[in-house]
């Protein structure tokens, strides 16, 4: 839902980042307002996953330029946990397994860290159990998964549901979902998408990072951005995704070539 007067939640300006001294993001700008659903599409290696990791503060990625404001605050100055506490959420493409750490306890500690930040009381174990059982319904997840270690031995689909469960508990203002559709069969996709739609509201925003149209069939984006070689090449409405689906990414290559040619001096400067 686009409202031009809605408050800006995330303002990314000319963001540049590298991993192991290799520049991956080469100047990304993006403004996300409350109530909006954005989709970033692109091929593997286009930098779209890097964008999500940088926003969440993964230590392996180094910001070398640009800025990110989260509700007017410098996001990049914050620790990953602080970003989460003020309402930024990253749904991982490959959620890690953490043996020995109980899923339920993990969810409770995370939820309370967010609540504390918001000035709410921490939930005791009983109150939290009530909450988590209510939120389980959003993703139609078996409560048995609460008793297991975080993501340990979960199937691909179960891991993704666990991600959306966390989102349902943390109630983020900006949710970034990195390839949430990968590895899901059609039923699981529908459940996960249903969860995302359920959680979307006029007060929050969602950034979907995806390779395929099929996620966008079930979650309708307000904006679609096509990313390649570390930049956003084109922005449009949901029809842009359909266009990509039909014509493929070939035009992107041509565009990149053109862009690289015009930007060449700038790139040389950047490297120097």
């Amino acid at each position: 839902m686009i409202r031009s007067d809605a408050p800006v939640l995330l303002e990314i300006r000319d963001l540049r980042a590298s991993v192991e001294e290799q520049p991956i993001l080469k100047g990304v700008s993006l403004t996300i307002r409350a109530g909006e659903i954005h989709a970033v599409m692109g091929r593997n290696g286009s930098g779209k996953s890097t964008l999500s990791k940088v926003l969440a503060g993964h230590p392996a990625y180094r910001v070398i330029g640009g800025s990110v404001l989260y509700r007017g605050e410098d996001l990049l100055a914050l620790e990953p946990e602080q970003r989460a506490r003020i309402g930024l959420f990253l749904g991982f493409q490959y959620p890690v397994e953490i043996p020995g750490v109980s899923n339920l306890e993990f969810l409770r500690v995370a939820t309370n860290a967010r609540r504390q930040q918001q000035g709410h009381d921490e939930l005791d174990t009983f109150a939290f159990e009530d909450l988590v059982h209510e939120r389980l319904k959003v993703v139609q997840m078996d409560p048995a998964f609460l008793e297991r270690s975080v993501n340990e031995g979960f199937s691909g689909g179960e891991k993704k549901r666990n991600e959306i469960l966390q989102m349902a508990l943390l109630e983020p203002l900006v949710a970034i979902l990195d390839e949430t559709d990968s590895g899901l069969d059609i039923d699981a996709l529908r459940i996960v998408a249903g969860g995302v739609n359920h959680l979307a509201s006029a007060d929050n925003a969602t950034l979907l990072i995806t390779h395929y149209q099929r996620l966008l069939d079930v979650i309708t984006p307000d904006y679609v951005h096509v990313m390649a070689a570390g930049r956003i090449l084109r922005t449009g409405g949901k029809e842009l995704a359909l266009e990509l689906e039909e014509s493929g990414y070939d035009w992107v290559d041509a565009e990149i070539e053109r862009l690289e040619a015009t930007l060449a001096p700038g790139i040389a400067l950047e490297v120097g």
Partner: protein, 485 residues
């Protein structure tokens, strides 16, 4: 363009290992004997403690045996040779004989223990734990003695026990760990200074937890404490041991002996949180912790349980063991050993099944970080008469960083077909990705480390008395700061 701080990678480095919290030295006048070991030194220690003849004989026999023995070198441990003539074998704060009341104890000593979190005074002492506080070579105070005496429980320093309960000492001392058991046990038997004695009479469940806190203060003193715990038929006790030492750039030798005896239906639960100074990040200084701990389940259906959290010492050699003689007796070993920087730990247990239907459980969790080396070395031995014996062992290693070593050497020896022994081991790691995942859900770095460590160690922490478990959790997280990421 200012580089934005990118969280963990930078900040973890900045946090760095927290300084050792207990590294201070108490400035107190100390009576020390001259460095070096000889028969005269052994006699001097014995006379200072006004010991009966049987004990002097015990010491001298041990000393002569020690002279004939060779320092072991079989563990995966490397250290420069120890000069046994360069160690002081007796150091005591200058206050005469143990005081009847705490008011007479040097306030500096009380202050020291308070700083260590072990208040001893009437007003502040822990409400449910009786404490024996040992400072260098002597016990300076024991709390709740009178209350325990009402139940017939004896809890005092071993020096006092030698005077007041000589017959018990003579009956039990050296019967579990003979003076010639090994090099360091022989050394301890010759020169042991102080330690705790616990006696729980028949049928008594000790009304509170008992605890001994060992503090090494002098830089050139060896600590050779001796602990003896006897639980008569049907008796039970839970005992805790804690230890710290100041930071010195030299190494101090700690060669303790602990003996436990349980008679029929008795049970002893022995918990240790070992936090001796471990040396700095380059491996300079720290305690050499070479101790012999052994329990003997003499009576049928008796039970000995060792729980240890080993975080300190430059080098640890320690194998708390159970000799399961009584039919249906039970031995347990729950261990967390954490090594960081240049620490070396070689620890484990021996479960010697002698009697029929004896059972043992071993749960060992090793965490290796930095350039440290952490070895589990265990022996499960099933003798020919141990019909129906059972053992279950689980040894898990967690590796943090690619410079740390985790070794596992679980020996199994069985001579009894009607026995069942099972051993499982696994390794895992704490990775930057796992920590980031937790952080990205709003969980702070320290808490994330602590969650992962306590998840890994849960089976062991569950065995610790409540207040120790929380303490152990924090201690481990603290020790690991700066080693992940």
């Amino acid at each position: 363009m200012p580089a934005a701080p990118m969280t963990s990678a930078a900040t973890v480095g900045d946090l760095v290992s927290q300084p050792y919290r207990y590294g201070f030295v108490t400035d107190i006048e100390t009576e020390k004997i001259a460095k070096g070991l000889s028969e005269d030194v052994v006699r001097l220690i014995s006379s200072k403690k006004e010991e009966p003849a049987f004990l002097l004989d015990f010491r001298l026999r041990a000393y002569r045996q020690w002279l004939q023995m060779e320092e072991p070198d079989w563990a995966a441990i490397g250290h420069p040779p120890i000069d046994y003539q360069n160690i002081i074998y007796y150091a005591a704060p200058k206050q005469q004989a143990k005081k009847a009341s705490l008011d007479e104890v040097d306030p500096k000593l009380l202050e020291t223990f308070e700083k260590l979190g072990i208040p001893l005074s009437e007003q502040k002492r822990l409400s449910n734990v009786a404490v024996d506080a040992v400072f260098d070579s002597v016990s300076i105070a024991t709390t709740y003695k009178e209350k325990l005496a009402e139940h017939g429980v004896i809890f005092c320093s071993i020096s006092e026990a030698v005077k007041d309960h000589a017959e018990l000492i003579e009956r039990y001392l050296g019967t579990v760990v003979p003076s010639n058991d090994n090099y360091f046990a022989a050394l301890n038997s010759a020169v042991f200074s102080d330690g705790s004695f616990v006696f729980i009479p028949k049928g008594v469940a000790c009304p509170m937890d008992l605890s001994t806190y060992f503090r090494i203060n002098s830089g050139d003193t060896g600590q050779f404490e001796r602990t003896l715990i006897v639980a008569e038929a049907g008796a039970s006790v839970s005992y805790l041991e804690g230890c710290t030492a100041p930071m010195f750039d030299t190494n101090q030798l700690h060669a303790a002996v602990v003996e436990l005896v349980t008679l029929e239906d008795a049970s002893i639960k022995y918990s240790t949180v070992q936090n001796w100074y471990a040396g700095d990040e380059n491996g300079v200084g720290g305690i050499y912790n070479f101790v012999t701990k052994r329990g003997q389940c003499r009576g049928d259906r008796s039970h000995i349980s060792w729980t240890q959290v080993e975080t300190g010492s430059a080098i640890t050699w320690k194998y708390p063991s159970c000799v399961l003689q009584g039919a249906d007796s039970i031995g347990e070993f729950y261990s967390v050993a954490l090594t960081n920087n240049r620490q070396q730990a070689d620890t484990g247990t021996k479960m010697i099944h002698v009697g029929p239907r004896t059972r043992s459980t071993i749960v060992s969790k090793g965490i290796s970080a930095g350039h440290s080396s952490n070895s589990y070395r265990g022996l499960v031995q099933i003798g020919p008469k141990a019909v129906g014996a059972r053992n279950y062992s689980q040894c898990d290693s967690m590796l943090i960083g690619d410079q740390a070593a985790a070794n596992t050497y679980p020996y199994i020896r069985s001579q009894q077909p009607d026995a069942r022994i099972e051993h499982e081991a696994s390794t895992c790691r704490m990775s930057a990705d796992q920590l980031f995942y937790l952080q990205s859900r709003g969980i702070g770095f320290e808490e994330a480390v602590s969650m992962m460590v306590s998840g890994f160690c849960r089976d062991v922490f569950n065995q610790l008395p409540m207040e120790f478990a929380a303490e152990a959790d924090k201690l481990l997280a603290l020790k690991l700061e700066g080693s992940v990421g």
